[in-house]
């Protein structure tokens, strides 16, 4: 049993025990770790975004654009729109900040509109192609192939599943029967993924145990 000398490991281990103490109940030790984590994580998230996005994308590109204006004159600067055009991104981002001032807060809707508009156009195509067409392409299976039994169940399963997600007709009679088979298939799948998730969560716990008993206290391994 030879506990590790590294102060960082000790901090990590004490925080780990603090979080585990929540299992016993909401207590000051846990509240301390939670509060510290909330502050540190928000700060970390903002610093990382600041350097990797704000500086790396906005400031750098606008800087390059500006010095093409200064060094190579106005016309060359204009043609280098690849870089200085990021200023619009910055402006829209700044408009978002105006939310804080109730009087002119409505202007922030423009940047929100830009974000929502662009992503909805992207989602429209993305979902239609990857969830719609691609899945249909993969669900068309020949029943004459050597593994026809599996294919038959696959086709029946997908068919009944789709019937379950049909909203225009009450789930009654034969139609209701098909929908029932569909939800059965769904429940088998959810059960399987529940079983899988138990294994992956346990391996997370094993990882923490290795950290506490191995890296920190040096009892095993």
């Amino acid at each position: 049993m030879h506990p590790s000398p590294d102060i960082g490991i000790w901090i990590g281990a004490l925080l780990t025990l603090g979080i585990f103490s929540f299992l016993y109940g909401d207590n000051p030790y846990y509240k301390f770790c939670e509060a510290l984590f909330v502050g540190v994580s928000a700060g970390h998230w903002f610093v990382t975004l600041f350097w990797t996005v704000f500086v790396a994308k906005l400031i750098r590109n606008v800087g390059i654009g500006l010095n093409t204006f200064i060094t190579e004159g106005f016309s060359a600067g204009l043609s280098d729109y690849l870089h200085w055009s990021y200023i619009f991104g910055g402006v829209l981002g700044f408009l978002m900040l105006l939310r804080l001032f109730p009087k002119i807060g409505w202007i922030s809707r423009w940047s929100l509109a830009f974000v929502v508009g662009t992503t909805s156009g992207y989602f429209f195509i993305n979902y239609l192609v990857s969830n719609g067409l691609r899945q249909i392409e993969k669900s068309i299976l020949s029943l004459g192939a050597e593994f026809w039994f599996g294919n038959l169940i696959l086709v029946v399963g997908t068919f009944c599943g789709l019937i379950y997600f049909f909203f225009s007709k009450e789930h009654k009679g034969a139609f209701g029967g098909l929908a029932r088979v569909g939800i059965w298939f769904l429940m088998i799948t959810f059960g399987a993924s529940f079983g899988y998730t138990v294994m992956s969560r346990m391996s997370l716990l094993i990882g923490r145990m290795d950290y506490l008993f191995g890296t920190w206290l040096g009892m095993i391994g």
Binding site: V40, V55, G93, S130, F165, I188, T189
Partner: protein, 208 residues
């Protein structure tokens, strides 16, 4: 101006993203990458907004001495300590081994990992308390989960049977249900995206 403009922006940008998918020309490809970069930049400002709101709430709680304000002090302390350590050394703070990364390694990762490992305890308690075979559907979910979990338990001769069953569940019904689910979600999401683009769905913008 306040009402009409946002929705025209939504429709214009939405239709542009839709149309550019079909046009492989270079200018459209560049415009596509350019707009996605803008959204990341806007996200960065939104993060600043969130940070401001959190600080404002915490500071007001501390000033008004609401019970538990001590923890808000710790949150603010943690936040500003990270900000200082993150900004002072400049971009170098993101390099491995910097104080900022040490904070990440010794505070953020252990707590995040411990939070995740709590799930192992919660799954066990959900299995015992919430996981009831109330209906036929819940029973199917239960049996299927146990078959998959039994693969890890040595059952001697029974293991082969259990293995075959688990394999069948994973190969055939599993894929069929996931396909039906994805097609359903796909069409639902496409319809919602269409409603947003055409300005029919407006709740996300709120009304005043």
């Amino acid at each position: 101006m306040r009402r009409v403009m946002p929705f025209t922006i939504v429709t214009v940008t939405g239709l542009f993203m839709l149309v550019q998918y079909f046009i492989p020309r270079e200018e459209f490809e560049w415009l596509y990458e350019w707009t996605l970069d803008w959204i990341i930049v806007i996200g960065c400002f939104a993060m600043l907004l969130g940070l401001w709101s959190m600080t404002y709430v915490s500071v007001s709680k501390v000033r008004r001495k609401i019970p538990g304000w001590g923890y808000n002090v710790i949150t603010l302390a943690g936040l500003f300590f990270v900000l200082i350590v993150g900004f002072v050394p400049g971009q170098a703070s993101l390099v491995r081994g910097s104080a900022f990364m040490h904070l990440f390694e010794y505070i953020y990762i252990p707590v995040q990992a411990s939070m995740f490992s709590l799930l192992a305890f919660y799954i066990a308690s959900a299995a015992y308390r919430a996981f009831r075979a109330r209906t036929i559907l819940a029973t199917i979910l239960l049996v299927s989960a146990i078959i998959i979990m039994l693969r890890l338990v040595p059952l001697g001769p029974l293991s082969a049977v259990n293995q075959w069953l688990a394999n069948f569940i994973l190969t055939v019904p599993n894929m069929a249900a996931k396909r039906a689910f994805w097609i359903g979600v796909g069409l639902g999401a496409t319809a919602t995206a269409l409603k947003i683009m055409l300005g029919i769905e407006r709740t996300y913008m709120g009304r005043d």
